[in-house]
């Protein structure tokens, strides 16, 4: 495990340690099974077209889960996530598979964040962050916010 992040380590404007992800069609199948979301928008070409969408898209909830990981990786086991929100602003399309294991060349996504506020309340040390997901073109396709508590160093 990485070193525990403490309240004193954080200043407004600093970056949340970024996280990279590659969405693949295989991952979407796994996600559908694990999350229970069987919406054909994520795997059925004909249904996708009937919905006015170009190709099967990455589940919003998977993108949200990545942003959850971005935050929980950053705050460590002694930090606590209190609030998490996100809006799906743009569609993301998974890479197709080249082999059973390996995706084709293509986009890599970045989960990123920035500290927007830090304050004490009721004896707790709280930090607010803007968080977002960037696609391969650098466009923010999902944006959100998180509120966390962090321990004190001393």
């Amino acid at each position: 495990m990485a070193k525990q992040l403490c309240y004193e380590d954080v200043e407004v404007g600093i970056e949340v340690t970024p996280l990279t992800k590659i969405a693949t069609t295989q991952m979407l199948v796994q996600w559908a099974g694990a999350s229970g979301d069987r919406n054909p928008l994520h795997y059925d070409d004909d249904f996708v077209k009937s919905q006015g969408v170009g190709a099967p898209i990455v589940h919003g909830a998977l993108k949200r889960a990545w942003l959850g990981q971005l935050v929980t990786d950053w705050i460590g086991e002694q930090g606590e996530l209190r609030k998490l929100s996100c809006r799906y602003r743009g569609m993301d399309y998974p890479r197709k598979m080249k082999t059973m294991e390996e995706p084709q060349e293509g986009e890599t996504w970045w989960c990123k964040g920035k500290v927007s506020k830090k304050y004490e309340d009721g004896g707790e040390h709280l930090v607010e962050c803007e968080i977002w997901l960037e696609n391969g073109k650098g466009e923010k396709t999902t944006t959100g916010a998180a509120v966390v508590t962090l321990p004190l160093r001393s």
């Binding site: 992800k21 991952m27 796994q30 996600w31 099974g33 694990a34 999350s35 229970g36 979301d37 928008l41 919905q51 006015g52 589940h59 919003g60 909830a61 998977l62 949200r64 889960a65 990545w66 959850g68 990981q69 935050v71 929980t72 990786d73 086991e77 606590e80 996530l81 209190r82 609030k83 998490l84 929100s85 996100c86 809006r87 799906y88 959100g144």
Partner: protein, 162 residues
Amino acid sequence: MAEGSLITEELRKLIGVSGEPITYKVEEGAIQRYAEAIGDLNPLYHDVEYASKSKHGRLICPPGFNGWPIKGQIGALPGGASEMMGAFAKAGAPSRLLDGGIEFEFFIPIGAGDVLIATSKVADMTERETSMGKTMFITTEATFQKQNGDVALRSQATLICF
């Protein structure tokens, strides 16, 4: 109702409607498979022995996973998710649906073996012109409680219909 509004009288009647609570147990394997599907290797989600020695004493759920989130967020609506979607469609809602986003408020960690009671309701419907034309936004609220009544989590999700 504004002229040409997407929110028909029938749809408006669904605002405020809650479903019967759903009670279910959070399974260890479900947590592990969900975390694996995210690609999140945090041992608190995977390693039973490691997690048992943590402050949580058991595997905990990644944020946003409540054991069976789809069921929890909209499945607890009247008649379950598919019937509720059918009711929206029957009441005249546009048939193209997208997930608009969600907000979570976490109060108590949820972990393996917990029994949760999920309740949800249709909180609101609004509409406006977007790049997709006339677009309707349905907000649902869900609450997940422990059996002793303590609220573990609240969420508010937005469904986009166009």
